[in-house]
């Protein structure tokens, strides 16, 4: 069976959930071969094997952290040459898309970004994408070269399918040309202890209606009662009430959780672009005419300062 390269997103060997989704999707096309760059391959290998990786190709070099993007492309290209895969799958993070883009140019292959589903087709993998702020759904294929496809988080439910997961060293030479952009300093983001926004099953977002950074704990409280991630509209981010990393929408994160709760958000097209594919959508807004209500499964027309605390209390009571 043909092999499919899966680029592993991990933090020191702790594999992130979107990679498990990629392994699950990869099995529809062929045998997943994981590519793990950086430290922690042995720790990661167990998880990767559990989700179907037949092999784990690994390389660690200081260059992966010292220079932007390009050294990782050198490594993925080396893996591509070693395996001759039927497709290359990469998580749709900002960096993932850039790695995939450069690999596609290098190997002369077509690229599809932000797939939300993947299936085997007679002429190669068929990717489903959600476009124009999720008002259309398309099915596309790569017609030249080896399909390079980036896949959004929450595109599949990870399914275990134990395989060998044999760890093999990958020989990588980082070209001088790939050392053009130095990372001179790196400040890791502080963990909030809440789920990762793009991976969360539930997201609770606040907008301009939250009316100040000092009121965001209200949104966080609701999120914590549900074990959810916290999002924000651009209006709330631009006002400085919540960090940009939490922005949902066209220029923020695109989320696709089981449940999305929007409080004090009007539902502008650029916001919708990042949340419209959520399974269940709930809104709290005092304006009955707000466009967000066109999307909801359940909406409450009311003041969020009344509704949100009551909701949070009720959830806590029900959960005991």
């Amino acid at each position: 069976m043909a092999e499919v390269l899966v680029y592993v997103d991990h933090v020191d060997g702790a594999v992130r959930k979107p990679t498990l989704e990629l392994l699950t999707l990869a099995r529809r096309i062929g045998e997943p071969v994981a590519v793990h760059l950086g430290a922690g391959a042995d720790a990661a290998a167990a998880t990767l094997a559990e989700y179907g990786a037949v092999k784990v190709l690994t390389a660690d070099a200081a260059e992966f952290a010292d220079y932007l993007v390009a050294p990782k492309v050198d490594a993925l290209e080396a893996a591509y040459k070693a395996v001759s895969p039927a497709a290359v799958l990469v998580p749709s993070s900002a960096e993932g898309k850039e790695i995939a883009a450069r690999l596609a140019v290098r190997i002369g292959s077509g690229i599809i970004t932000d797939a939300v589903d993947l299936e085997a087709g007679a002429e190669g993998p068929v990717a489903t994408q959600s476009v124009f702020a999720a008002s259309y759904s398309t099915k596309s294929r790569v017609t030249k070269g080896t399909p390079v496809i980036t896949v959004k988080p929450n595109s599949a439910a990870p399914e275990a399918a134990p395989a060998a997961g044999t760890v093999e060293q990958l020989a990588v030479t980082v070209a001088d040309a790939s050392k053009g952009t130095k990372v001179v300093a790196r400040t890791p983001r502080e963990s909030t202890g809440r789920p990762e926004l793009t991976e969360a099953a539930i997201v609770v977002s606040g907008g301009r209606g939250v009316n100040g950074a000092e009121n965001f704990p209200l949104i966080e409280g609701l999120a914590d009662s549900l074990g959810a991630a916290v999002g924000a509209s651009r209006a709330a981010v631009d006002a400085g009430w919540y960090p940009h990393t939490n922005q949902v929408g066209q220029t923020g994160k695109s989320v696709s959780p089981q449940l999305y709760i929007a409080a004090g958000i009007s539902g502008a097209i650029q916001h919708r672009a990042g949340m419209q594919t959520s399974k269940t959508i709930v809104a709290i807004n005092k304006d009955a005419e707000a466009p967000i209500f066109e999307l909801v499964d359940y909406g409450v027309v009311g003041d969020l300062f009344e509704v949100v605390p009551q909701l949070t209390e009720e959830i806590k009571t029900r959960k005991g």
């Binding site: 933090v11 932007l68 993007v69 900002a94 960096e95 898309k97 850039e98 450069r102 596609a104 140019v105 077509g110 690229i111 970004t113 068929v126 008002s135 259309y136 759904s137 398309t138 099915k139 596309s140 294929r141 790569v142 017609t143 070269g145 040309a177 053009g180 952009t181 130095k182 990372v183 001179v184 790196r186 400040t187 890791p188 983001r189 940009h244 066209q250 220029t251 449940l259 097209i269 650029q270 959508i281 709930v282 009955a288 999307l295 499964d297 359940y298 909406g299 409450v300 027309v301 009311g302 003041d303 009344e306 509704v307 949100v308 009551q310 909701l311 209390e313 959830i315 029900r318 959960k319």
Partner: protein, 261 residues
């Protein structure tokens, strides 16, 4: 020597319009008004600020697109760019990201550059891949997704706010930069700027000027193919209640019914 800045700008259908697909499954550009991609305004703005700080700099705006794409160039010129280059050719219809980056790279080599500035993503296709592809094709450093950028002493530095960390980057020119919408509000064209833009030069180039064969670009030769595009069914109308004092509890009841609690 003058710092040659080239800003890549895309002409896109208005995101607030009713966008759809043409019969050949390319983006329909006839029924919806087009404009300069809002995210590329940030690129023009940063280029203008870099020019302000430089001893001597010149800004060229570059687009690959149909006849109407001139509107995008005019807007950028009215914001303050110095001149424009428009790559326009009937054979370009339906070109995908790989093809577009090929044409842009050839055009950049034709025009000459020290610094290429792009937006973070186009507001229609929104792949966010073209700047990385340009760096790959041109063989120059990629300094992308910057929320802060500075050019000094032949070097570009900037801050990239990623998911896991915020990184401080540095590269020697020539380089390809892309900037996010966190880089600072773009200016509005002044009346004077709009008048001045009418007299600024716009050079038109076609594929043969760039030494690109027709079979390297266009819909038929794209590296990807859209087989199907279906309009997402409108979400079925949900339940909407007015809060009469029990709104939070009613919502909890709904969530419990859906097994979220």
């Amino acid at each position: 020597m003058s710092l040659r800045i080239v800003v890549c700008v895309k002409y896109v259908p208005d995101a607030t319009g009713d966008r759809h697909f043409a019969e050949d499954l390319t983006v329909d550009r006839d029924d919806v008004d087009g404009l300069l991609s809002e995210l590329d305004e940030y690129a023009v703005e940063q280029a203008l600020q870099i020019k302000d700080e430089a001893d001597d700099a010149e800004i060229t705006v570059l687009t690959v697109g149909p006849e109407d794409a001139k509107d995008a160039l005019r807007k950028a010129l009215s914001m303050g760019a110095d001149k424009a280059v428009h790559v326009e050719d009937d054979d370009l219809h339906g070109t995908d990201a790989l093809g577009t980056s090929l044409v842009l790279a050839k055009a950049l080599e034709h025009v000459g550059y020290d610094l290429v500035v792009s937006g973070m993503a186009s507001t229609d296709g929104g792949m966010g891949v073209v700047p990385a592809m340009l760096a790959e094709r041109l063989g120059v450093p990629q300094v992308t997704l910057l929320s802060e950028v500075k050019v000094e002493d032949g070097k570009v530095t900037g801050r990239r706010d990623g998911d896991a960390a915020s990184e401080q980057l540095e590269a020697a020119l020539p380089a390809v930069v892309s900037v996010t919408d966190q880089s600072g509000e773009a200016r509005y064209p002044s009346f004077k700027g709009i008048m001045a833009a009418k007299k600024k030069p716009v050079e038109s180039l076609d594929l043969s000027d760039l030494g690109i064969e027709a079979d390297e670009v266009g819909l038929e030769n794209a590296w990807t193919k859209v087989d199907e595009a279906t309009e997402r069914p409108a979400r079925t109308a949900g339940t909407i209640v007015k809060d009469e004092g029990e709104g939070g509890k009613q919502l909890a009841e709904f969530l419990a019914g859906q097994k979220f609690i």
